[in-house]
């Protein structure tokens, strides 16, 4: 990607990637340039960043996929006894 001007679709995609630290330097440069003149994307970016901080601060937890699978197997076994 060597264009300087992005459309909003591309800008949002970079912004999403950036939330997971997967945007490279050039991405960030063109995103910043886009944000200078695009109000809608500025709004999206700030909300997106806010969401990231919230999730990080909450230390919210979910089960690992493998653990959930284990739980599911064990539970199905129990469930069979009750039906």
């Amino acid at each position: 990607m060597s264009r300087i001007k992005l459309n909003c679709h591309e800008a949002n995609h970079i912004c999403d990637k950036n939330q997971y630290k997967e945007a490279n330097f050039w991405d960030k440069v063109v995103l910043t340039i886009h944000l200078i003149y695009c109000r809608a994307c500025r709004k999206y970016s700030s909300r997106n960043a806010k969401l990231t901080t919230l999730v990080k601060n909450s230390k919210v937890e979910t089960m690992d996929l493998s653990a959930k699978e284990e739980l599911n197997v064990a539970f199905q076994k129990e469930l069979a006894k009750h039906q």
């Binding site: 949002n12 995609h13 999403d16 990637k17 939330q19 997971y20 997967e22 999206y44 909300r47 997106n48 806010k50 969401l51 990231t52 919230l54 999730v55 601060n57 909450s58 230390k59 919210v60 937890e61 979910t62 089960m63 690992d64 996929l65 653990a67 959930k68 284990e70 739980l71 599911n72 064990a74 539970f75 129990e78 469930l79 009750h82």
Partner: protein, 183 residues
């Protein structure tokens, strides 16, 4: 008021992450939390006929889970042995003699912080619960479990651009939901 119905087939899908999050903020150990959640579901099955439909399924399961958590703490307390010696090295005269006592503990959060974190976690789970299943799954894997993009793609058999579209939709919905419920 409409009666709530109980359907254990959906339990794992709908409530396991919520219960897990609830437990882990209280016991701080993934293994134990998983065991407790499993115990809760099993106990729920056994006492299904006692479910009167006054509360929602989730509230009902949480009330079982609370008992399980209390039981867990009782058990580890009795394991410790009866004679517990408490030693405090800061008596009144020589308070803070030990170096550790004088340093501000960065992990010593105030009660408000902890409460806020717990509530925020609940709010996030509520919002995730409103997402379509696929979006919720991808969002959780990417944002909370911090899986690599590639790993998720392999696991779910989707392409990377597919994943980013799902993430984008999920994040938009989540941001709107959190804005409504949290701020």
């Amino acid at each position: 008021m409409p009666k709530h119905v109980i359907d254990p087939n959906q339990w794992i899908k709908l409530y396991s992450d919520y219960l897990f999050n609830y437990t882990i903020t209280r016991v701080n150990d993934r293994e134990i939390a998983q065991d407790l959640v499993q115990d809760t579901f099993v106990a729920g099955l056994k006492s299904m006929k006692n479910f009167k439909g006054e509360a929602s399924e989730r509230t009902w399961l949480i009330s079982i889970l609370k008992r399980k958590i209390i039981d867990h703490y009782r058990k580890i307390n009795s394991n410790k042995g009866k004679a517990e010696v408490r030693m405090t090295y800061n008596s009144d005269e020589n308070e803070g003699d030990w170096l550790e006592e004088r340093v501000a503990d960065p992990f010593d959060k105030t009660a408000e912080d902890t409460i806020e974190n717990t509530e925020l976690g609940i709010a996030i789970h509520d919002c995730i619960g409103k997402l379509p299943e696929k979006q919720a799954q991808v969002f959780k894997m990417k944002t909370i479990l911090n899986y690599e993009t590639e790993a998720i793609c392999n696991e779910l058999q989707i392409t990377a651009s597919n994943l980013w579209v799902i993430i984008h939709r999920a994040r938009t919905a989540m941001a709107a939901c959190m804005e409504k419920n949290w701020f």
